[in-house]
Symmetry: C2
Subunit: 361 residues, 2 copies
């Protein structure tokens, strides 16, 4: 049987409240008593029961992380970084996978609400209004999208898309295609907006093909349409689609990058391993995971929790939470899937600096 606070109290000859203080407010207890208690606790293998503590403090020291698909290679690094960061802050993370189903996402927020101090939500599909509503039930940090009034962490995919298009234009491409992502995805919209603008600025034509599922298969099946579009370069919503597209082009006998250049977004591990190696926009997913955790913890300070005995908890009507929106820089990684286009080429150039992390607003 696991030792309880009472066992420790008995063993060290003090009242349980003293033991409690020893762990939750050590400075309030006499150093001698403290060390005695600590010694007893140690020898009994005592660890405070966080669930019991949470019941009264209102802080569980847990958080939730909801992602649409763990097996999408974009996520593991984010999860890993978030988990590591959280653990350093003495938090544990419930990781949940929703299979891209918004209904499951909503249900999960409800289900987790009571057991966590907040949730990191990667939900490209859910409506803004639903997210806002859910955020009244439990602190939320949205990842990979922005929702007015809520803290969020996004990668600057707009900038990334612009870099990619500029790269292609500078290589002499004028007929470009964009394989867009899922309908309603914030990221996809941003990419499209930025890519369109960059293409116009560069005097190039951009055909948008999609929406598409954000998978390898989603890219593969688009090869035929890419051929028909008669473009010489393609930017894909993510690496998985870009890689699928390369596969598809390959079976059509179209050479990459000789006939068509391909650029992805994300820089998943896989993108270094394909032939040709994929040129892509690197997303700082690990940094995003860390940032999301820290933003949640920061927000947590201003959340009610429980307030002593009376606990006539009124939620802060005035929504004065720190509601920062973090934007992380992306970076173009030029590999082998992009080459000169029909309209002459300039030096692609572009020294690559390490990720600066930029906070906006």
């Amino acid at each position: 049987m696991p030792a309880t606070i009472r066992d420790v109290a008995r063993a060290s000859g003090v009242h349980i409240s003293t033991v409690s203080r020893t762990f939750s407010a050590p400075h309030l207890v006499n150093p001698d008593t403290r060390s005695r208690v600590l010694a007893c606790a140690e020898s009994l293998g005592y660890r405070p029961n966080r669930a019991a503590r949470a019941l009264i403090t209102g802080r569980t020291h847990n958080m939730g992380l909801i992602v649409p698909d763990i097996s999408n290679p974009f996520f593991p690094l984010l999860i890993k970084a978030a988990e590591t960061q959280a653990r350093q802050r003495d938090y544990h993370i419930f990781v949940t996978d929703t299979n891209e189903d918004p209904a499951v996402e909503e249900e999960l927020v409800h289900a987790l609400a009571k057991q966590v101090d907040g949730i990191l939500l990667c939900s490209p599909r859910m409506s803004n209004s639903l997210i806002e509503q859910l955020s009244r039930e439990v602190p939320l940090v949205v990842v990979n999208r922005q929702v007015a009034g809520l803290p969020s962490v996004v990668m600057d995919v707009g900038q990334g898309a612009r870099l990619a298009i500029e790269h292609l234009v500078s290589l002499g491409h004028r007929d470009l295609a964009l394989l867009s992502g899922p309908r309603g995805s914030w990221t996809s919209r941003e990419i499209r907006r930025a890519a369109t603008a960059a293409a116009r600025a560069g005097g190039a034509e951009l055909t948008v093909l999609g929406p598409n599922p954000p998978t390898e298969r989603g890219g593969q099946t688009m090869a035929e349409q890419v051929r028909r579009a008669e473009v010489t370069a393609v930017l894909a919503y993510n690496d998985l689609m870009a890689i699928g597209l390369m596969e598809g082009l390959d079976s059509l006998g179209i050479a990459v990058p000789a006939e068509v250049s391909v650029v992805g977004i994300d820089d998943i591990t896989l993108s270094r391993l394909t032939r040709p190696k994929l040129t892509t926009v690197a997303n700082p997913t690990a940094a995003a995971g860390r940032a999301a955790v820290d933003m949640l913890l920061q927000q947590d300070g201003s959340w009610p929790g429980r307030v002593g005995r009376g606990a006539t908890g009124t939620v802060p009507v005035d929504d004065r939470r720190t509601t920062a929106q973090v934007t992380l820089q992306t970076q173009l990684v030029i590999r082998d899937s992009t080459g000169p286009g029909p309209h002459g080429t300039a030096d692609p150039g572009g020294a690559v600096a390490p990720f600066p992390e930029v906070v906006a607003s």
Copy 2:
């Protein structure tokens, strides 16, 4: 403020214990009362607080999943499957990454022990004795290794290695190498044992090269040694290493499979995407995740928990837990990284059946 059981009781004019029963033992409450309570609960948005419930029942409805490295592509599918299965059983999973550090693993078991009903432990490095000791603190299911007396889920990598070696021998290879995995890994040991036996049975020579880190880099740096060993075929501890090896051989100007055949183990998504596509032994990782969850839940039945009011909790001295060891079948997937060897070739053959799940003992 989230509604509590008391709010519901007040609203529906019954005692809180009736509300409690409505949720935890519906059959004990009058259908009319029940539906009234349910209606009130619904309209108040009431959800039972699991932490509070756990305090008294001893069941948290949470479980832990400890893996060495989430970003190793072997794990995401396992995590995803485990999470999905757990959620179907109304459980949530704490996912933790230990960065391959056994000290962290041990600490995590302690830290999670109180907040979960059990832990799925993927810890190739931890000692058996430590695992046994930890299993007295919290129910454990070990994954990818076997520990006497503990429930475990393993893939039949021995069988897999045998299939791989037989495949290579049948292709006419006689000089084989095995890139072994991390020192002390149960899986690596199994593979080595089975591969050695299969090579002997096939009249082939097997050189063991390693131990190696289970990463792409681990394989890449072995290319030189593979060349020196003058073998015509290599089996790698996992796909990541196999892929790294192919990279390494490529930079050495050694053609795969023309000069050297390469076989991996795992069948991660990536292995279909390299050139040449990797021949590999498919591991049913998703099935493993599901099986592990179910075994934990099954074991949980026989674990003490809390026992009514008195709760003079004595642990079952007699260790009569169901301690099944599940072994899941593997399957050879022949792609393009293996070809004829110098000693003539037979038809590789091998119809591929869907994974049967086999329970041993």
